[in-house]
Every structure is written in C-alpha cells, then in structure tokens.
Symmetry: C2
Subunit: 253 residues, 2 copies
C-alpha cells in the first residue's frame, strides 16, 4: 500500500508545485517508486518536469472525467523511479463538468485503484482552491502536506483549509490527517517571517517540519529547465532543504 500525500493550500503561490515536484524527486532519489499527479489546470507540475502541457493528449482529465485507465496516461519522468500522471488544459472545465456526476468527490480515488500498489509514494499537486479537484485529492489521500509561505496573508486562509480537511474526514475519507506543515520561502532578512513562523508553530505545534525551505532563486529557475532542483543545481540551498524535508517525511512513516 503506497503512502498518498496531497500537497494543498488554497492560498496562491505558496510553493505547492515546487514542493510536490522536489519531494517526489527526492523520494525517487532514495529509491522509492513515486508517482506525481498534477491536478492543477495550470499544469505547472507537468511543465516543471519538462513536459509541454499542450503536447499532452491524455491527462488526469481523461482519467477522472472520461474514466480512462490511469495506466494508459502515466508518463515516465527523466529520473528513475519517478512517474507523472500529467495535467493539461482540458482540466479547466473539469470542476463544472464533474459537479453533476454521481460520487463526484471520489472519482480520483476510484480511478487510482488499479495502479496504486505499484508505488511506494503518490504525491498529488493541488490547484489554489478548495473546489472539486482538491476535494477529489483530499478524498483519495492518506494525508495532507500544507506549504505555508512566511507572509501575513498565509495565516488568513488556514482556518478554512482545516475546516475543509475536517469536512472531508467526516464525510468522505475518515483516515485523512495532516502529514505536516512546511514553511516555505523563508527569508532570514525579513522580520515579518519570524512573526509568521512563531504563529504557525503555535497553531500547529509538532506538525510543523523542522526543515524550512529558504527563498532560493535556484528553485524558481529549475522549472524553466524542466528539472527538479536536485538535477538542476544539486548543491543549492533549495536542493539541500528538500532533501532534508524528504528524510523527515520518510522518517515519520
């Protein structure tokens, strides 16, 4: 049975995709068979691994809306042990199309039944909203990894996210729990960061990872080369932080 982790936060631009790609790559580097699933219509996780979403004909859209077999859509990424279930722009209309389907929140969960046991980890990147695509992911997963930017607005939406996790746990997925809370884009020179960090550590207590991800330009450059940061610049602070984080995730098993 694989560990299935959703990377979610409805606040935009907090590092969900960056975390999903780089944790997946670090897991693969450790020899864990890993599937990264992109459920964001922007398809950033797909392009961040070097695939052009416009060239992707069959995507997660065809799996959850049309019922296509996931195995027929999965791509092999550059790294050994890393596969990708890509997104493409067909996904834009998915939430409206799914709204009237039976068991609309569980379509992802049932579509992964045939392939889940081939992997040790399944990591799912979410869009910046709490709509049907994120609900599908929260219903399919064991846990949620929550990236939080060290900025003021980051604190605002946490209450809503926790309410949604509880709603899903009570109605759709009783095993759903918080995998961990990750502080991202930490800039040691910014005073505000420290205020946000201490509030997050008070709010979430032991669920906050010891590893925080520093603001590191290599992390924002890597996707333009279609590579995870450990392949783009192995000695960067971003690569080291994601390796440390991944060790924490594996150790928490």
């Amino acid at each position: 049975m694989p560990k299935m982790i959703a990377v979610a936060n409805q606040k935009g631009g907090v590092g969900k995709t960056t975390t999903a790609i780089n944790v997946s790559a670090c897991l693969a580097e450790l020899g864990k068979k890993t599937l990264l699933i992109d459920t964001d219509p922007q398809a950033n996780a797909t392009s961040g691994l070097g695939f052009d979403p416009k060239q992707v004909e069959k995507s997660i859209y065809h799996v959850i809306v049309d019922g296509m077999a996931a195995a027929d859509v999965i791509l092999t990424a550059e790294m050994e042990y890393l596969n990708l279930l890509p997104a493409n722009h067909d996904l834009i209309g998915a939430e409206v199309e799914m709204a009237s389907l039976i068991a609309r929140e569980s379509r992802l969960k049932s579509s992964l039944k045939d392939i889940r046991d081939r992997y040790d980890y399944i990591i799912i990147d979410c869009p910046p909203s709490l709509g049907l695509l994120t609900l599908n992911t929260l219903t399919a997963c064991d846990s949620v990894l929550i990236p939080i930017q060290c900025e003021y607005y980051a604190l605002e939406g946490l209450g809503q996210l926790l309410k949604t996790i509880i709603l899903v746990r009570d109605n759709l997925n009783p095993k759903l729990e918080i995998e961990g809370v990750l502080l991202t884009m930490q800039d040691r020179r910014v005073k505000l960061s420290y205020r946000v960090i201490s509030e997050v550590r008070n709010f979430f207590k032991g669920e906050v990872y010891k590893t925080a991800i520093p603001r590191n330009v290599r992390l924002s450059e890597a996707p333009s080369f279609g590579k995870p940061v450990i392949l783009y610049d192995n000695s960067s602070s971003g690569a080291q932080a994601y390796r440390e984080l991944t060790k924490e995730i594996v150790a928490n098993e």
Copy 2:
C-alpha cells in the same frame, strides 16, 4: 460612468490583492471616488485594509447570492474617497451554489447597477481561478489588469487567461478589453526575471505598463498593519511604484 477594472490571473500569488489594494488607495489619494470589491473567498483584500473577515457579517456573498443591496454592505475604509465591498468566508461555497442559478455569470453586474455611478473607479480583486466568481467579475467590468510575476510559471497560464477573456467578450461582455499587463515582484538580481520580462513584452507589446513593481518587503508587511503601502511606508519603493502605476492607469483613460 465609473471605470470598472478587474485584477485577475488564475496563477496564484502573483500580486493581485497587493495591486488591487494599492491601486485603489493611490486612486483615492488622487481624489478619485474608488470602490474596492473583494471577490476572493480568502478575503485578503478585506483583511489587507484592516477589516477582520470573521467580523464581516454581510459581504459580497450576500449581494451576489442572496440579492442584498450592495449599498447596505459597503464599508468606509480609513482613507477618504475609498470604500470596500468586503468578502467573508461565506464566499467559499458560492461557486457551487451559483452554478444552477439563472444568468449566473451576470449576478455581480446586475447587483452593482444601483451604486456604480457613485464612483469614478471600481477595482475588483479576483481569486486564483477562472471559476464563476472570476467570470462574474469579467462580465461586470470594462477591462482587466493582469499582474504577472517575473517567474517561469507565470508564462504558462497566460494562454488560458486570454482564452477566457475572449470567451467572456464573445458571450457575456462585448466591451471587455485588457487594461494593462503589470510586471510584479521584479528582482533585479535574478537573471530569470529578464527572460520572463522580455517574453511578456513580446507577447503583449504596448499593453505592458512602463511601471514594474519591484520586490519590496514593505509591500508584504503593510497588510499585517491593515494599511495600503502609501499609509504604511510612504517613501518605500513599493509605494512609489504603485503611485507611478496609478498615474499611468489614469493617463490611459
């Protein structure tokens, strides 16, 4: 007749809220009667102006879903000439609730009929998605101001955003046009910025504002004090950039 401008981009964290708040404040400073409307369930524009979304009883949700009069919901902000039509967390369920209503895309437009002529400018902050809330805003507005972060992923979603604008123009709002494209969080030390900037200028040509917004920590600190940056730190590079930008917007009339 006021000028109604949507601030939209489905990519998360690109500076939509920061732009909506600070352009509104700079317009008010120039003596323009300005209404800022927050249509994002995260209610960041509401808290960024110093209002606690949990204390806001009546919000844009009650206006567009329940049909309450906008005039009864509008708040007076700290600055003269600046009003806010706030959001609160009721808005989370709005898109699903509105999906089955008649003329669901035009509810915002019709709810503003009674109050629009009291203002010179109406600025509307959008959530990071292209769902019904953003469609309502694009249907109600004259034009769209598109903030773009100087990062690789910023380019990915532009095609979708333009397609959506064209769809709205063809089916719901024939006058909709691009007000301008704004480069945000520009960091002169980052090489990648220059590549993204030149691609954006090639793609949008004259629609890109001469003013770019630099990465400036004062912009991310200001919302924690509930103030626009011109009230929080008037001499900061962020305050100056938004003043320059607002002059460009007014000059384009």
